[in-house]
């Protein structure tokens, strides 16, 4: 009872504080309508130092897109970032390997390559052709920020599960302890509630390594992606390349393991009239499209869910800077709201992180189950 009253008090204080801040900031905006601040901004613009002010879309996309360097923090003119290896193959210049800081953040060209910070190929490394125009190189195998984040998460995965496996061999047939305790129910959940019912008692074991790896890879990366500081914060599972590869794994495994029954359902669906199969193969075409849409949907769902979560959080942060440009007080007032919403969103994202990993694994398991289902 006491705790409940305390909670209500805290909530009312927080809400009151929020209202107060908003009122104060509204007043300061009115007072500061023509202050020297704007003049200084104009001066900056004349000098060409500052750009057009805060751009939320740049801010958001800088955070959710892949990059050739891992930006950690910026303060005034000080930028701390880890440059990553650029590996580029072009028809005219061959294979080139160098660190990204050679470009000095796009201020300099290097070896006939340029880091575009504007225009159509913004954010990409382009090749400078002989006539001065630029084009994307044939192959860009750069070890980007997302690749580093993937590597980090995979090392984490290895470390966690190899130590857990060691715990099992060290204490066979004993109750789990520590990390084992946390992960064992999840492993059992994937086995007993995802793989077994979807694939079947006799065939599920073959798919367990993939399902477990995919589940924990997605979950770990979703969680790491929520951590705003290095080495977290990379938008790995919200990257279309990553989700595409994961979905391709599912697609390839499904196709390889497809049995006679599976292919029969695609090319000669039993139980439908013959004239929608021959001579115009309407059902087979639909089935083949369905074969492709399944992994496509897996790819889009994970990508969209994670990216959307990041965009919403970054949107709330953008609000602080948008209002902060109007007036410092307003920015401060909004920051409280933004923080509250961000905390709420992060909580939601924690849930989404698990749900999306679950959904991807479950659907993969269902597809495997469909591919290996026996005729009955």
């Amino acid at each position: 009872m006491e705790g409940y009253i305390l909670k209500r008090k805290v909530i009312s204080y927080v809400l009151g504080g929020l209202l107060f801040l908003i009122m104060v900031s509204a007043q300061t905006t009115q007072q500061h309508e023509t202050t020297p601040e704007e003049i200084t901004t104009e001066e900056h613009l004349e000098h060409g130092e500052a750009d057009e002010g805060f751009s939320p879309s740049d801010f958001v996309f800088d955070h959710i897109l892949d990059a050739y360097e891992w930006h950690i923090l910026s303060y005034d003119d000080f930028h701390l970032s880890i440059p990553l290896p650029v590996i580029i193959y072009s028809d005219t210049k061959g294979l080139n390997v160098f660190m990204f800081n050679r470009f000095h953040h796009g201020h300099e060209d290097y070896k006939g390559f340029r880091f575009e910070s504007h225009g159509e190929n913004k954010g990409n490394i382009v090749e400078i052709l002989e006539d001065g125009s630029t084009a994307l190189p044939r192959l860009d195998l750069s070890f980007s920020k997302n690749v580093l984040a993937i590597m980090f998460s995979l090392i984490l995965l290895l470390w966690v599960f190899l130590s857990v496996a060691k715990a099992y061999s060290r204490r066979p047939d004993k109750a789990p302890t520590g990390m084992q305790n946390l992960l064992e129910p999840i492993i059992l959940f994937i086995r007993d509630d995802i793989a077994r019912p979807s694939i079947g008692e006799h065939k599920y074991e073959k798919f367990m390594p993939f399902l477990l790896t995919v589940f924990f890879f997605i979950w770990f990366n979703n969680m790491i992606g929520l951590i705003p500081i290095f080495p977290g914060g990379a938008n790995v599972t919200g990257n279309i390349s990553v989700t595409m590869l994961l979905a391709l794994f599912t697609f390839v495994i499904t196709t390889i393991n497809g049995n006679r029954n599976y292919w029969q359902h695609i090319f000669n669906m039993p139980g439908v009239p013959w004239w929608i199969k021959y001579p115009v193969p309407l059902v087979p075409v639909i089935e083949i499209i369905g074969m492709m849409t399944k992994p496509f949907v897996l790819m889009i769902r994970l990508f969209a869910n994670i990216t959307a979560g990041h965009i919403i959080v970054l949107g709330f942060f953008s609000l602080i800077f948008i209002f902060g440009e109007m007036s410092v007080g307003l920015g401060l007032g909004v920051s409280v709201l933004s923080l509250a919403f961000t905390i709420f969103m992060t909580m939601l994202e924690l849930l989404v992180a698990l749900i999306q990993a679950y959904v991807f694994t479950l659907l993969s398991a269902i597809y495997f189950g469909m591919a290996t289902e026996e005729h009955h």
Partner: protein, 164 residues
């Protein structure tokens, strides 16, 4: 590095790393973990089953014990009853024998008494006869002391004979 265009570099590196990690995990993590879990489940199931079996055996043993106890009790009761019966029988027999013996003794005593009595009676009879003869002799001697009395008797006797 755009939002919805797959990036070949990321795909290449991830494919490489992901497959390697998946294979390592498969060999050194997933299989050992899944095997350990299965073994543990089996051992737990086995233990539960053996515990159940032990419980059942225990119950059976207890039932057996009770049965044996009941049997023993019954046996004891039976033995007690038999002993009682035997005791009674022996007592009865002894009683019977004793009474028979006593009867026999009494009988023989009676016979002996009878014999003694008979002998005594016979003896008395002889003595009485002798006594009576003696008395008669004495009486006769007294009566036939004088001749006259002898004469008279003679006559009387002769008279009796004559009549015959």
């Amino acid at each position: 590095m755009r939002l919805v265009t797959p990036d070949i570099g990321t795909i290449f590196w991830m494919l490489l790393m992901f497959i390697i990690v998946m294979l390592i995990l498969k060999k050194f993590a997933w299989q050992p973990i899944l095997n350990a879990l299965r073994n543990r489940e089996q051992s737990i199931e086995e233990s539960l089953r053996s515990a159940d079996r032990a419980k059942q055996e225990m119950e059976k043993l207890q039932a057996d014990n009770e049965k044996i106890m009941a049997e023993a009790r019954k046996e004891r009761d039976k033995m007690l009853k038999e002993t009682k019966k035997t005791g009674e029988m022996i007592l009865n027999e002894a009683k019977n024998k004793a009474s028979e013996e006593s009867k026999k003794i009494i009988q023989s005593a009676r016979v002996q008494i009878e014999n003694e009595k008979d002998a005594a009676i016979a003896d008395i009879r002889i003595q009485v006869a002798e006594l009576s003869v003696d008395i008669a002799e004495k009486i006769l001697q007294e009566k036939l002391k004088d001749d006259k009395a002898q004469q008279e008797l003679m006559e009387k006797l002769l008279k009796d004979v004559k009549m015959n």
